[in-house]
């Protein structure tokens, strides 16, 4: 028994030793899950599916194509920021990290991220090649703080079989509303003809969804959500208009109530409603349903950016990016990061198969991308998409606070004016505490 224990301890000690294989090691930390059981040895990126599969195959392929470099991957529980912050506090951050663009400002403001211009230069990538939404997302002040990887935002996922039954198809495409009144009129017609709700909504435990609706339609009306880095402004006629409209949707029973995200997704794929407003990340799953004979969405699925209901056609978006935490690195490591950037930029199309929009104009306009199902319809998101201003810190926490208050307003648990005022107050208190 003692020998066995000793053997285990020796094995563990040896396993913990730093590798010395003559290669340049880059320590990469990412979310998107772990799927080495299926893709552990795969380098065939084209055959990989889903965020985890494509990401795993890409990194395997980079390692194969760059024998002098070894990417050591650390998979973290989504979104991984508690761990990253802990690593930074312990002065042991990774070399490359997947980061939501809305979070970059939190770390960049404290000097915890390196600007990536030198790496982009090594990779031969110009920020001008990024889509507008991606460029906004990774640029803070005069510096670029990440290699943008995708743009994601809200979409109207449509069950075209039910839309046809409701008489809301023209030329093979669903007719989406152009004003709040039109949406409610369509909803009445839809429910009268199909007996099902027009909108499937995840209003329980999905603050991001509620915040996305408010941000998008306030931006469309020209609202400046953050007049300065320390304040949000929601108690405006535009804010009231949007919140009251979403409240009215529920008062007039145009949408489902009491559903969380899994319930809403299950309802949509089971054909229990016309439109499910959720993000780009669900395209892959819904396309799979649309290609499976016998399923309610089979050959009856379409997807579009949020329709313009007021003002301009603008939509709130975010994106994933690759950032480089600040730490000492050897020239070989810096070169390896540049090569990794070049490799990833070269494979941005592969990532776009997940449903997210490409971060590079060239990929967005490529026939390869536009020939993918639904992509031509959602491509405008890359140009109409607007992230929150990069000077605003704590965007993730802010989204939670705003979303919580808006969900209360939309469902009638709180009067609209109170919810907007409370959201504004809570966010301003939070921002006042930012160093």
């Amino acid at each position: 028994m003692r020998r066995l224990l000793a053997a285990i301890l020796v094995a563990l000690a040896l396993g913990s030793c730093a590798p010395n294989d003559g290669r340049t090691h880059i320590y990469l930390q990412r979310f998107f899950g772990e799927c080495s059981a299926e893709y552990g040895a795969s380098i065939d990126v084209a055959k990989a599916e889903g965020e985890c599969g494509i990401m795993t195959a890409l990194i395997n392929r980079f390692n194969r194509e760059n024998p002098d470099v070894r990417i050591d991957v650390n998979v973290v529980a989504w979104p991984g920021y508690p761990q990253l912050t802990a690593q930074m506090a312990a002065r042991d951050p990774p070399d490359l990290v997947t980061m939501h663009e809305g979070v970059i400002s939190d770390y960049a403001a404290k000097g915890l991220l390196d600007p990536v211009e030198p790496y982009l230069q090594t990779a031969g990538i110009s920020p001008d090649s990024f889509t507008e939404a991606s460029r906004f997302g990774v640029t803070i002040g005069k510096h670029v703080y990440g290699l943008p990887w995708d743009t994601h935002g809200g979409l109207f996922h449509v069950n075209t079989a039910l839309f046809a039954k409701a008489g809301l198809m023209r030329g093979g495409k669903p007719v989406l509303p152009n004003s709040p009144e039109e949406l409610l009129t369509q909803a009445k017609q839809f429910t009268a003809r199909t007996g099902k709700p027009y909108l499937i909504q995840s209003l329980v435990g999905d603050p991001a969804g509620a915040a996305r609706n408010l941000y998008t339609y306030m931006m469309a009306q020209g609202s400046v959500l953050f007049p300065d880095p320390r304040h949000i402004k929601l108690t405006t006629p535009e804010g009231v208009r949007v919140a009251e409209f979403f409240r009215r949707i529920n008062v007039e029973h145009a949408g489902t109530l009491n559903m969380d995200t899994p319930a809403a997704i299950a309802a949509f794929v089971s054909g229990e409603g016309g439109i499910y407003p959720t993000g780009t990340w669900m395209i892959g799953s819904f396309e799979k349903e649309a290609n499976t004979p016998g399923r309610p969405l089979y050959k009856h699925y379409a997807v579009f950016p949020y329709p313009r209901l007021w003002g301009e056609r603008v939509e709130y978006v975010s994106g994933h990016s690759w950032v480089v935490p600040a730490r000492k690195r050897t020239p070989a490591q810096r070169d390896a990061i540049g090569r990794f950037f070049r490799f990833m930029a070269g494979h941005n199309f592969d990532w776009a198969r997940t449903g997210h929009l490409p971060a590079f104009k060239q990929v967005l306009d490529s026939p390869q991308f536009t020939s993918l199902p639904e992509r031509q319809d959602i491509a405008p998101l890359a140009s109409i998409g607007r992230p929150l201003p990069s000077y605003v810190q704590r965007q993730s926490a802010i989204e939670g606070l705003v979303g919580e208050e808006m969900a209360a307003a939309f469902t009638g648990q709180k009067p609209v004016e109170h919810a907007l005022a409370d959201a504004e107050h809570r966010v301003n208190v939070l921002l006042s505490e930012v160093n």
Partner: protein
């Protein structure tokens, strides 16, 4: 005897109530197990599909197919066993000291230890993390085990238990020429086995299920414990598109706990009933 048998027999209503209670307690476990045996795709549209075949073990295969799972399992075992052993040794020694020895500031020290019960771990997490960073203990077994050794409740528990053991036993051993250490090892410690078992079970369970400290201390995947590793393995929308896998993870992670419960059932029940402390 007959009266006792009569008392132990349940009436019809009692049986019905008992069965309802059992069903309520067992249903979530059965539901979890059934979901874990279903294909993820089938569950996306309708989780009720778990109630009928076909069933598959593909989710369990995916767990074992991940080369890191066994490493995480081993890490959890080392951390849980290490912490449990450490707590038992330290709490027993401290308990003996507070219960039997006279030394300056004994009461004050005991009060200070008890004050530790009032300090939530969240309140000290930042300095604790900084301290471990300073000592280069993150991503190491000592780094994962040591915070668990600060266990004021365990000290209180063992002190209380040892105070209940008659001092005459110590005095008799002293008359026979036994040293303090011998008395502790050969007289007191064997008498505390029930309390030690209870403490061991709860410490093991608490450490096995711990998520927060391993999450921020073990930041390299080869040092993850099972809780952190399985969470990292999930996709962003696991509750929707990977429900079967999620449930298989839950079943897998709970198997060691289940085994501990089966083996130490008596001690756990006794502890819950409050009879481990005399």
């Amino acid at each position: 005897m007959a009266a006792s048998a009569q008392r132990g027999r349940l009436s019809g209503i009692g049986w019905v109530a008992l069965l309802i209670g059992v069903a309520i307690m067992v249903a979530p476990i059965v539901w979890t197990l059934l979901l874990s045996l279903k294909n993820n795709g089938e569950l996306v549209g309708h989780s009720g599909a778990a109630l009928y075949p076909p069933y598959t073990v593909e989710n369990y295969a995916a767990i074992f197919g991940n080369s890191s799972t066994l490493r995480w399992l081993l890490n959890s075992a080392i951390v849980a066993i290490g912490t449990t052993a450490g707590v038992l040794v330290l709490a027993s020694l401290a308990g003996y000291g507070f219960a039997r020895l006279e030394f300056p500031f004994r009461r004050t020290l005991f009060v200070i230890v008890l004050l530790g019960l009032a300090v939530p771990s969240q309140a000290i997490i930042l300095p604790q993390h900084q301290l471990f960073a300073w000592l280069h203990l993150h991503n190491s077994y000592p780094g994962l085990i040591m915070p668990g050794l600060i266990a004021p409740f365990s000290v209180f528990f063992m002190t209380t238990y040892m105070r209940g053991i008659p001092r005459e036993l110590d005095e008799a051993a002293m008359l026979d020429g036994a040293s303090r250490l011998t008395i502790f090892r050969k007289v007191i410690l064997p008498l505390t086995i029930p309390a030690q078992s209870t403490l061991a079970v709860f410490t093991f369970l608490g450490t096995w299920n711990d998520y927060w400290w391993p999450l921020i201390s073990a930041t390299h995947s080869d040092m993850y414990t099972l809780t952190v590793g399985l969470a990292a393995a999930q996709m962003n929308y696991a509750q929707t598109s990977g429900l079967g896998y999620l449930m298989a993870q839950a079943v897998f992670a709970s198997i060691p706990i289940f085994l501990v419960y089966i083996v130490f059932q008596k001690q756990i029940v006794r502890a819950m009933a409050g009879t481990a402390v005399r």
